[in-house]
């Protein structure tokens, strides 16, 4: 099970279906995520992008279909194997999810301490370099409760990449960042990808930033992949749905509303429940 075999795709998703209660989040989704590239997953809020990352990480189980990472079916691994697979993955959670009982420094050092036998001064160097990369070397002694939202997410990013994992999944890395930090993060993600040849998966709503770094984009909506291709291809795509999303138009086939009951009807049912 080597991460370095040379097949085209590193993550192979076949016939994936998943539901939450009675709501179908994915219906027969197929995706191939290319090795060593930056892949973006985009789509309206609530389509299941975070859910997809959790399926890939083996935290959720699909109803049907399979997800293979380097040829290994994630959901057939034993608990032990799954945990050792995850050592080679990094994930930035949408909420940051820092350990609140540890300082910024210890948060970033944590994955290194548990998975390697490196001496303390070497760990210190790595942690400081990662914190420097996200511009927070000076915040190393703060506790997570003392950070702003944007800072906490950058610390979480530093933690996600501290072991230089072969696959990094970023759930909305740009959210809550000022324009300068966004620019820095774009460069950082590109650098991690190019310098180390690692695979990156980005979930994001920031069209500008995403278009500028992604090699490949999947557009999800309503349980399906509605389009996929390079940024240039997607920009040229003249399907209504794709145009609407890429240009951020409020009206069009992609539903903005969670459920499509008629608003007027919903308002009136209050008065006459039996209508």
């Amino acid at each position: 099970m080597s991460m370095h075999n040379s097949s085209e795709s590193i993550i192979d998703i076949q016939g994936l279906s998943f539901s939450r209660g009675t709501r179908k989040i994915f219906r027969n989704v197929n995706m191939e995520i290319p090795r060593g590239k930056i892949t973006a997953i985009m789509g309206p809020s609530g389509t299941g992008k975070t859910t997809l990352l959790k399926l890939i990480g083996g935290q959720l189980r699909p109803d049907t279909g399979q997800i293979k990472i380097d040829g290994e079916d994630v959901h057939r691994l034993s608990r032990q194997q799954l945990f050792s697979l995850r050592e080679r993955m990094g994930m930035l959670f949408q909420s940051g999810a820092l350990f609140t009982d540890m300082s910024v420094y210890d948060n970033v050092a944590f994955p290194i301490k548990v998975h390697t036998d490196l001496p303390d001064d070497m760990i210190r160097d790595i942690v400081l370099l990662k914190l420097q990369a996200v511009g927070l070397r000076g915040a190393r002694d703060l506790m997570p409760s003392e950070l702003s939202g944007g800072m906490a997410r950058r610390v979480a990013l530093a933690r996600a990449i501290s072991l230089d994992p072969a696959i990094v999944m970023y759930d909305e890395p740009f959210t809550g960042q000022d324009p300068i930090a966004k620019g820095v993060l774009v460069k950082l993600i590109r650098m991690i990808n190019k310098a180390l040849g690692h695979t990156s998966i980005i979930v994001s709503h920031d069209i500008q930033e995403t278009l500028s770094i992604a090699d490949h984009i999947f557009l999800l909506s309503d349980g399906h992949v509605i389009a996929s291709g390079t940024p240039a291809q997607l920009l040229k795509d003249d399907t209504e749905q794709v145009k609407q999303f890429m240009q951020g138009l409020p009206d069009g086939p992609v539903p903005f509303h969670f459920s499509d009951d008629d608003l007027l009807q919903d308002l009136y049912t209050q008065e006459s429940p039996n209508a």
Binding site: R86, G90, T100
Partner: protein, 260 residues
């Protein structure tokens, strides 16, 4: 009618499923406890939070309960002219019953609720998920040290409770009620049996410790990760633990002392 049967069936199934999950959690975290090097500092920290920080409430409660026992025992025994036996009464009541039971109830309220809330909040803020994605099993890292710390702390706390309680009883009987010191202690020594009383009391305390900690940790680990879910889980910890302790106390007492 059919609806009620269906509801009953569903809630029974839910309960069975949750009992199954709790057993699975207990098993997985005990077999998968981290290596001693990793475990030891984590365990010490938890023993501090669960055990050491419970000392104040245990000592204060033990002292007052011992003093009350001394007073009550004296007023009853003095009618029969056998007030010299108050030492024996205080010690036996504490060692056999009150120390394990009251300690467990206090432990559920003080440490159990804190465990549930802490783990529940870790779940709600995705700290458990992010541990998993870092490749660290939360059952090993978070659950196992807390379970062991509870198992270890509870019997020690109960022993401390009993000792402080006996001290409180002595204080009242000897200093205040004027019982002769020698007969107070001698009576106690003659009647309290090490394996029959002390050991059984410690066994009770250990069993309660296992049950309370297990319930507390499981409720946190299995809670609905919202503020409401955490508050309900915390309440359940205290209610279920208290009921389990009182019920088990009857069973254990019947087994240990029933044939007298």
């Amino acid at each position: 009618m059919l609806d009620q049967i269906a509801t009953l069936g569903r809630s029974t199934l839910d309960r069975l499923a949750s009992a199954g999950r709790s057993g699975q959690m207990l098993w997985q975290s005990l077999v998968a406890a981290p290596t001693p090097v990793v475990m030891f500092p984590l365990l010490l920290k938890q023993i501090y939070f669960i055990g050491v920080l419970s000392l104040v409430i245990i000592i204060v409660s033990g002292l007052f309960i011992g003093m009350v026992l001394g007073l009550q025992g004296y007023t009853i025994l003095v009618d029969y002219g056998s007030e010299q036996a108050v030492g024996q009464m205080v010690a036996l009541t504490l060692v056999r019953e009150l120390a394990p039971v009251v300690t467990a109830l206090l432990f559920a309220g003080r440490a159990g609720s804190a465990l549930t809330a802490e783990i529940g909040l870790m779940k709600a803020t995705e700290q458990l998920s992010s541990l998993e994605m870092i490749g660290v099993d939360p059952l090993r890292r978070i659950v196992a040290p807390r379970l062991w710390a509870g198992f270890i702390s509870m019997p020690i706390l109960a022993v401390i409770f009993a000792m402080v309680g006996i001290f409180g009883g002595a204080l009242i009987s000897i200093e205040w009620l004027g019982i002769f010191e020698g007969s107070f202690w001698a009576n106690m020594q003659n009647s309290v049996d090490f394996s029959g009383d002390v050991l059984n009391g410690v066994i009770k305390a250990f069993v309660f410790g296992v049950v309370v900690t297990w319930i507390a940790v499981f409720q946190g680990y299995d809670c609905v990760p919202t503020s409401e879910g955490i508050s309900q889980a915390t309440t359940r910890t205290v209610v279920y633990s208290s009921l389990a302790v009182l019920g088990l106390d009857f069973v254990l007492t019947a087994l240990m002392f029933g044939d007298i």
